[in-house]
Amino acid sequence: MANLDEAIKTLKLIARHSELLVSSHLNQSGEIPYTEENESLIRSLKASRLVWQLDETESVQVSSVLTRLIDHSLINYRRHVAHEAIADLWSHIAHLINDQYYPAKTKCATRDLERVTAEIQELCIELIEMIHSSTIRFSEYISSKFAFISDIELRIKKNEQVILQAQRLNDLLNTFTFDELTVTCGADVFLRRLFLKTFSKEVEKSRRNLLNSLHQLNDLLHSLRESAEINRLLELFERKYDNDRGFLPNIESLSRYPVFLRSSGRCIEDSFVNTSNILDEDILADLCQNTRDIPKAEEQSPPVTVEDVTEQDDEIVEQDIVNTMAEALILAAQSSSEFISALDVYDRLENQAYDTWLYALINTIEALPSDDRDSIQVAFVEKVDANFPNNYEILDIKVKENATSTI
């Protein structure tokens, strides 16, 4: 519990003096001015090991632990001003090389050279990290598509701002040219390995990512502008339909039409197979195998319950009057030496077509057993068709007993 209390006490102390701590980190390189009013605060911070001071005459510095914490909380701010931070850091490295590294090397001051070398290495890594994180944030915008802003017009504005930031960063990265780096490094092996090999490779990678992000941001902006334009159009039409019920645009006055109005619709019909093509006979035969449709109704019809109908009343099916008359005519003809005219009999039929009567008679005669068929003689009264001379129109059928029959 004691540990817990101590941690909570420390965090509360940081919270109580957060403004001063952040301000000293941002504006005074982590230095807290030693004033009378800060005295008790400095004492408390020292007790919690959040600040350090070499001796009473030196300034009070915020500890590295606290610096890292503040740094972490300021990541978004740092990203926004990344291009400035990158430029500052690069300028710092360049000064370090010119003011400390080269002089130390010239003087063969080994310890100073080791310290400066380590510092340059660390700053170079920090610079690479800074460039990397600055480019990464643009891909975050792309994946979110600025969806955190609900209004499409504001989203367009934000997109434009981000494109500007990306362009500025790209301009900055373009300044890290091979020539500039060569001048900075001279013939020094360590610097050439660090900047011409490691650093330039990482910068190039980040630049590629940034260009890709810029391209996608521009696409996104284009698509957002298109969406905004369509939204405007939709609102316009909605208002029009609200104000003018039954609004119907027309193009009667036009003599030329834009291409999207000239859509031809369907202009192709299904073709028929050329069945006379002998080369395709085998293929057609295969295709025809499965073309016959089995009616689904037959397949799916429910089983029919068979009822016992033996107990039910007989159903009498009445014979068709035409067939009855035809049979009667034939029966009469079998014992008549005179022709009986179908036309005469037709007069006794009511509501029947003459053609139907003639067909029924002929069909009945044709259906007779051969002996009965031989017992009658059939004569047709016909006339030649006016248009087709080989065809005859039947006017009447006459039937009488066949005198030559053996029956």
Partner: protein
């Protein structure tokens, strides 16, 4: 003698069937038609039958268009088609506005955009005004639905849009759809109507304060 080219044949038949070819409706044909050499070849064929290969203004869809609209018969066809679109345009406008208000990103339906039936339904069931708008929309002569519940209404609207080539179902669940580039064509037509009917000027005039004041 030129030989039979299955890809050319299938693509042309799809075009001549009155379809809009885009990445969503038919990725294979769209990619084939994106080649300028193929476009020339297709045009050479189509020009012989008074047709040409056309694209929407955003170049997201290909379709077959009359190359010369001077004959009376073609003009009659064009006017009939335009009347058909005009008659149902209000239904489309109301539907897209409904989707825009449901969509948290506030963007209109565009080629490639996914449409989820459950998302639409969820929003409509939660917002009475959306449900009311949908009911009115579904009763229009274009959608013609007699369904009484939100699910039936949404289903009817989506099915109609699939039949008309504006949406393509994704998967077999019947809940996921993707918009085709036929919307691009509709937006082109709307932009044309806006300028032809001077709708913007009309609206500006409506919003102008009365300048003639005694």
């Amino acid at each position: 003698m030129s030989s039979y080219d299955p890809m050319f044949s299938s693509t042309l038949q799809a075009l001549m069937s009155g379809g809009f070819i885009c990445e969503v409706s038919n990725e294979k044909f769209y990619s084939y038609l994106s080649n300028s050499l193929v476009q020339d070849r297709v045009n050479q064929y189509l020009l012989q039958i008074d047709r040409e290969l056309a694209q929407t203004s955003d170049e997201k869809a290909f379709f077959c268009a009359y190359s010369d609209a001077q004959s009376d018969a073609v003009q009659r066809t064009i006017r009939t088609q335009f009347k058909e679109v005009s008659n149902h345009l209000e239904s489309f406008v109301r539907w897209i506005r409904l989707i825009v208000s449901i969509n948290p990103a506030g963007v209109p339906i565009a080629a490639g955009e996914p449409l989820n039936k459950s998302t639409i339904l969820g929003s409509i069931e939660q917002t009475p005004s959306h449900f009311e708008a949908l009911k009115q929309l579904a009763r229009t002569s274009y959608f013609k639905s007699n369904a009484s519940d939100a699910s039936g209404l949404v289903k009817a609207v989506l099915s109609k849009l699939v039949d008309a080539g504006y949406l393509v179902p994704v998967g077999r669940g019947g809940t996921q759809y993707q918009a085709t580039a036929k919307w691009s064509w509709l937006y082109d037509v709307m932009a044309f109507i806006e300028s032809h009917e001077c709708l913007s000027e009309e609206t500006e005039n409506l919003h102008q304060p009365d300048m003639i004041d005694g």
